[in-house]
């Protein structure tokens, strides 16, 4: 540690370094010279070159030009364009919805039926549709999220790497299946088993209002929710897995070194770390469930009315109703559907803002160690 041959030998290159840096200073001085030369030249051409320099006529070197302003123009333009499109869409929807809403003879928010096409007496309300939209989405998430969390944890922390890769691939494939296929499958294949399940639920837990109906069981809220659950499963699973995989090793090892079992390690390190990500994944799933159109149009009963029962034939959602009713709608009918679309937009907006608020509140505790 004290003076050693290696040390003193190392001093030699150090001396070389010093002479090299002296050389550098020399070069820097000449650079300084040309720079001041450029500045003087700049002063001489102050007025003519002013506009070209973007108005900065001070003592600074000329701004580099070329791609930069073009790029700035392009990005600013694109940003403004997006805003303009959003405002235009909103304006279009609102102007279309207002005449229908003022022609409406019923209360739009409380009325449960949908007769906007009656020329003399148009009546329509969002109550049943909004209820069905939220109910199917919530049931879908209640079914899907625990399964998604389980699969995601299995993939990230339990499965051998080979199995995890294979299973992850299958789940990604599931995400690529078009929703109309899920709709067809749900309607033609799943309706039977779900009907049997409905009968079973009614027989054994029929005292719960949810399962109060004695039938018929066909296209129902339950069927739509199960199909939705399967549809939101892949995206929720994939996002949760990505979040769990990113848990810093040092957090996991901190838990293991305290004597945690694997599950305890997941509870103390992985889940708390992944919480904001899981919330985001669930909200994304919720967004997908709320907006899902064709699969629900094919698996819900397309009836109107607010009912606690989820197994009886029936149910409807805003998006499914738009898909089902748009074809036969007249002017007022289309306006009514557009008004319902605005409500759906508002719901998804609230969901997103809430999700962000939740994630933001947790931020202080979510930061990594320094």
């Amino acid at each position: 540690m004290t003076e050693s041959p290696t040390r003193s030998a190392a001093d030699q290159p150090g001396a070389d370094d010093r002479s090299a840096s002296a050389d550098k200073y020399g070069r820097q001085a000449s650079t300084g010279f040309t720079l001041s030369g450029a500045l003087r030249e700049n002063e001489a051409h102050d007025h003519p070159s002013g506009p070209d320099l973007g108005g900065g006529g001070g003592g600074l070197p000329p701004r580099r030009r070329g791609f930069e302003p073009l790029f700035r123009f392009f990005t600013t333009g694109a940003g403004i364009l997006v805003l303009v499109i959003i405002v235009a869409i909103a304006a279009f929807l609102i102007t279309k919805a207002i005449p229908a809403l003022s022609a409406n003879k019923a209360n739009f928010f409380t009325y449960e039926q949908w007769f906007p096409n009656d020329p003399s007496n148009p009546r329509f309300g969002i109550a049943a549709l909004a209820y069905g939209t939220l109910l199917t989405a919530v049931i879908a998430l209640i079914l899907a999220v625990p399964v998604a969390l389980g699969i995601a944890l299995f993939l990230s922390h339990y499965a051998p790497r080979r199995i995890a890769t294979g299973l992850g691939f299958v789940i990604d494939l599931l995400a690529a299946v078009p929703s109309v296929i899920f709709g067809l499958w749900g309607r033609d294949y799943l309706a039977g088993p779900i009907g049997d399940l409905s009968a079973w639920l009614h027989q054994y837990v029929g005292w719960l209002p949810l399962f109060g109906s004695g039938g018929p069981y066909g296209n129902s809220i339950l069927l739509g929710s199960v199909v939705l659950a399967i549809m939101v499963l892949p995206i929720t699973t994939a996002l949760c897995r990505d979040v769990f995989v990113q848990t810093p090793t040092q957090n996991e090892e901190a838990a293991l070194a305290l004597g945690a079992t694997r599950w305890e390690m997941i509870r103390t390190a992985v889940l708390p770390y992944g919480k904001p990500g899981v919330i985001a994944a669930v909200m994304l799933g919720l967004g997908r469930a709320l907006g899902e159109t064709i699969a629900l149009a094919m698996t819900l009963g397309a009836t109107f009315g607010v009912s606690v029962d989820i197994i009886h034939t029936g149910g409807n959602s805003i998006a499914a109703n738009i898909a089902n009713a748009f074809g036969e709608a007249n002017e007022t009918g289309r306006g009514a559907l557009i008004a319902s679309g605005l409500v759906l937009f508002a719901i998804t907006l609230i969901v997103n803002v809430t999700a962000r608020a939740i994630i933001y509140r947790r931020r202080e505790f979510a930061g990594g160690t320094s």
Binding site: M1, A254, A255, A257, L258, G259, T268, A366
Partner: protein, 258 residues
């Protein structure tokens, strides 16, 4: 309650790569032992094989015996989690649980053991934080996140967390390498105090630190990159630094190599 650690022919692998080879040594209770040696010679690997943290890495395995007071922790009937509770660990980078408050960090190990009673947890938290010389700095903000502390405070918080479960051996892998000199001194003082109750093993890159804090020093080395690390010399710290038996040890501590 401090225990003796006895490694018998311990060899550890990462997949097929042999990282350390045939290490045999006995570490006495209530002493501070420093592991020194050039980077990559397997100090961390050996340290992590003492509390079975090595096998956490996929493909990693350990051969040989690691006796803690005459019980081999690699015996098939031994519960890994119990081993890790008995042998606490402090890592190179301070790693408090970022989502937990200071208080929750300290009592995390106790909660894992099923302790729920608030009075017990409160007492343990205060005792451990005092033991880690950080109580006065954090007693007014126990509910604040542990990530908000300075690096040195975080490391002492991690030591508090490790000693809260009352381990018998405390392993520290370069606990000061991410810290400033003042925090380093604070941790070194702490090690001096903890030695009364625990068997402490500390990996360090800093030879002055080894000389300052340890009673015994083990020097590890490798022949060349790709070779497994071996124990070259293990003796009283004063002997290692003043009169080492091995030429390699002397070369290393005089700065001729490594």
């Amino acid at each position: 309650m401090a225990k003796r650690v006895e490694a018998v022919d311990v060899t550890a692998y990462y997949g097929s790569f042999k990282a350390i080879d045939g290490i045999t040594m006995t570490i006495e209770p209530k002493s501070v032992t420093a592991f020194i040696g050039p980077s990559g010679c397997g100090k961390s690997t050996f340290l992590r094989s003492i509390n079975r943290m090595h096998e956490v890495i996929p493909g990693a395995k350990v051969q040989g015996k690691m006796m803690i007071d005459a019980e081999d922790i690699y015996d098939s009937h031994v519960d890994v989690t119990a081993v890790r509770r008995t042998i606490g660990m402090v890592f190179q980078r301070p790693n408090p649980f970022p989502t937990m408050s200071i208080y929750d960090n300290v009592v995390a190990g106790l909660r894992l053991n099923g302790v729920r009673k608030k009075s017990v947890l409160d007492d343990a938290a205060e005792k451990s934080l005092r033991g880690a010389n950080i109580w006065d700095e954090v007693k007014d903000r126990l509910k604040r996140p542990g990530g908000g502390l300075s690096g040195g405070q975080q490391q002492r918080l991690c030591i508090a967390r490790a000693i809260a479960v009352e381990p018998q051996v405390l392993l520290m892998d370069e606990p000061c390498s991410a810290l400033d000199p003042i925090s380093t001194l604070a941790i070194e003082d702490l090690i001096g105090q903890l030695k009364d109750r625990y068997t402490i093993i500390i990996v360090t890159h800093n030879m002055q630190q080894a000389a300052r804090v340890s009673d015994r020093t083990a020097f590890f080395s490798i022949e060349k990159t790709g070779d497994p690390g071996r124990l070259i010399e293990f003796d009283d710290t004063t002997k290692i630094f003043q009169n080492p038996a091995e030429k390699k040890t002397e070369d290393y501590i005089t700065g001729r190599f490594g």
